[in-house]
Symmetry: C2
Subunit: 390 residues, 2 copies
């Protein structure tokens, strides 16, 4: 269902010849038919941010977007003034087709850094996508396929509010995921009646506890973009708290799907840090463990190697996360393999057959908790990133 689940939105996904994979859908268009055109966005903090990020950051600043055009097959990053002009021309093309202001069109790109896009293909693709716009399930699914790169499956979400408003979304992302946002493009749509300010608050909070807590490979992208668009087409005004909660839930569901489709991953690793002095401390510990290549390799070998967990935990400065190493516990899939900083139950007792590996670290100094997600590090990850060009 994806972005067409909410009323007031049409979408399309077409083959534009941008991707090097012949016949792959590589251009998506999402249009907000209103009556509201409210929008909010969150973007990469990478200083080498791509041309489409520079363009879209400005476009969404006034809280209004009519449409988003997204392409796979090229990131249009580190492409200078010419790259920026490509994003501007792409937005202009869409604005002419829709009859809307050029600065109400967002542009998103994903793919190889450092190469310009085949602009004529993008512009012709925009026309084809415009012609194919529809509010059907299929149209939403076509769009979610068109943004995939090394993703092995499309990632979508739909949620229904208690008084009938709808939220739907799509995301792409598999590698270059971390630590603040991922190489991910995400569009979430809703037919609720909400203001741009409500969207900004809901999106910032939702992203903070989802996309900002996943880490496939520690690599931050130049192109990360998350957009939230509201059409108001349902005529329903949501309860603000419920709206925020559902947006956060959509972000979490999409982020979880990214981890489930991490490049080459054979295990999804959930790392929960409990008993911290505050949430930031718990988060810092979780991120440090999630970043350990040695742990990620051990998990891919089905080894619940807690020594690699505590050695990563030990790199977090005392000032960031106070704890006593002699009080720390580590449970892997329910087995307490480290107890009070020393060996606990035999790690041979841990069942490593499930895809999801559940690591719980107890700092035993306070009451705060945070969870981060990562993937294991496999031969296939190296293969994808050494032997393919991306």
């Amino acid at each position: 269902m994806s972005v067409t689940f909410a009323q007031g939105f049409t979408a399309a996904g077409v083959v534009a010849g941008i991707s090097s994979t012949a016949g792959k859908k590589d251009l998506a268009l999402v249009v907000n038919d209103g009556p509201l055109k409210a929008a909010a966005g969150v973007f990469t903090t990478n200083r080498f941010c791509a041309a489409p990020v520079q363009w879209s950051r400005e476009a969404v600043k006034d809280g209004r977007l009519d449409a988003v055009i997204l392409n796979s097959g090229g990131a249009n990053a580190c492409t200078g003034v010419e790259g920026y002009e490509q994003s501007a021309k792409t937005a202009r093309k869409v604005s002419e087709l829709l009859g809307c202001p050029v600065d109400d069109v967002a542009v998103c790109s994903t793919g190889l850094i450092g190469e310009l896009l085949p602009l004529s293909n993008v512009l012709a693709g925009a026309e084809a996508a415009f012609a194919a716009l529809d509010d059907t399930v299929q149209a939403g699914e076509d769009a979610s396929h068109a943004i995939m790169t090394t993703d092995t499956k499309p990632k979508t979400v739909t949620r229904l509010g208690s008084n009938g408003f709808r939220i739907g979304g799509m995301v792409k992302g598999s590698g270059m995921i971390a630590p603040q946002l991922a190489t991910m493009l995400c569009v979430i749509t809703t037919d609720a009646v909400v203001t741009p300010e409500q969207l900004r608050v809901a999106l910032a909070a939702g992203v903070d506890t989802s996309f900002n807590r996943i880490d496939v490979d520690g690599c931050m992208s130049t192109n990360d973009t998350v957009l939230l668009l509201a059409s108001g087409a349902s005529g329903i005004t949501p309860d603000a708290d419920e709206f925020n909660a559902i947006v956060a839930d959509c972000c979490a569901a999409l982020a979880r799907q990214i981890i489930g489709d991490g490049e080459g991953a054979s295990h999804d690793i959930k790392i929960t840090v409990e008993g911290a002095t505050d949430e930031d401390a718990a988060l810092a510990c979780g991120r440090a463990v999630a970043a350990s290549n040695l742990l990620k390799c051990a998990i891919s070998g089905n080894d619940p190697n807690w020594g690699r967990i505590v050695s990563s935990l030990g790199t977090v400065p005392v000032g960031v996360a106070p704890y006593d190493p002699d009080q720390v516990t580590v449970d892997v899939n329910g087995v307490r393999v480290c107890d009070g900083g020393k060996p606990g139950r035999d790690r041979g007792e841990v069942d490593m057959t499930p895809r999801e590996v559940d690591i719980v670290i107890g700092l035993n100094i306070g009451g705060a908790t945070a969870t981060v997600w990562t993937d294991d590090l496999t031969h296939e990850y190296v293969h994808i990133n050494a032997d393919y060009e991306s």
Copy 2:
């Protein structure tokens, strides 16, 4: 030659039955026969520091050491009070054999975290090593073999001062290398006449520009130890600046050998950041690039993927390293593949056949430079760390 190159030192390396590899030398002893017994040490900053680190940090505090006993086959880390007692009993055994104070014996261990050592084997091994102590080339080489774990070759260094004093050393380290020290045990010996304070200054400076600038896998160890011992047996008082320079050179040579033997590595990657506002800024940029799994995979696939270099560079906060992305250049093996933040010469021009890959990043905002070293990320790294127990 290793630690026996300097006069006044004896060493041994024996098979003690600690390692799970039958017949592997796994216990080394280095003895300072004086007349001086000056010493200095640098240790891991990991909060889960191992029992031998806790012991040795105290032992070296007074600037005097008579001996160092080192074992592979077990890290004795996260082993609680019982582990600390194992280190203490090991030191006591050596002190009884040598007739020196127990707190003038340092203990170093490397291997799997979270398991106690087979103490009777360690103590019997200490006796065997004591019996085998010699000042020969072979004795030094035996010691350098006994500390190896996943290392594929021993790593040693010798240097001669201009007025005849000598410095020699050995190190082990291959994985769990970064970002402040490595899983490394290092002993450097000199026959120069120097004070403990001179040793401390020389070692701190030497470590800072060598072991603290290599990163195999971003994983900091629980057991890192670098010791510098002076016997004064040459009777030669060195020029202080020359002494510091040679110690730094020894550290750099040993650190370079660790990178050359990084787990599974097929390329050694030298990352030089030039034109930074200050050395810390250059270092922060170099470390960020060295930590990129995506870049390390690309290099293992012989792809000089500069997009993965700048996207890592872009994660360094402006406050840490000011630069303008549009002024940045990247040279790989002498080819300027990125020029002013945009594509430069074709990356197909880069010769990726040499083992050493030379990456030079120009920030073009100041005059400071720093170099860090890392390895590429290969199938073999994953194999070693997923499929072996360590």
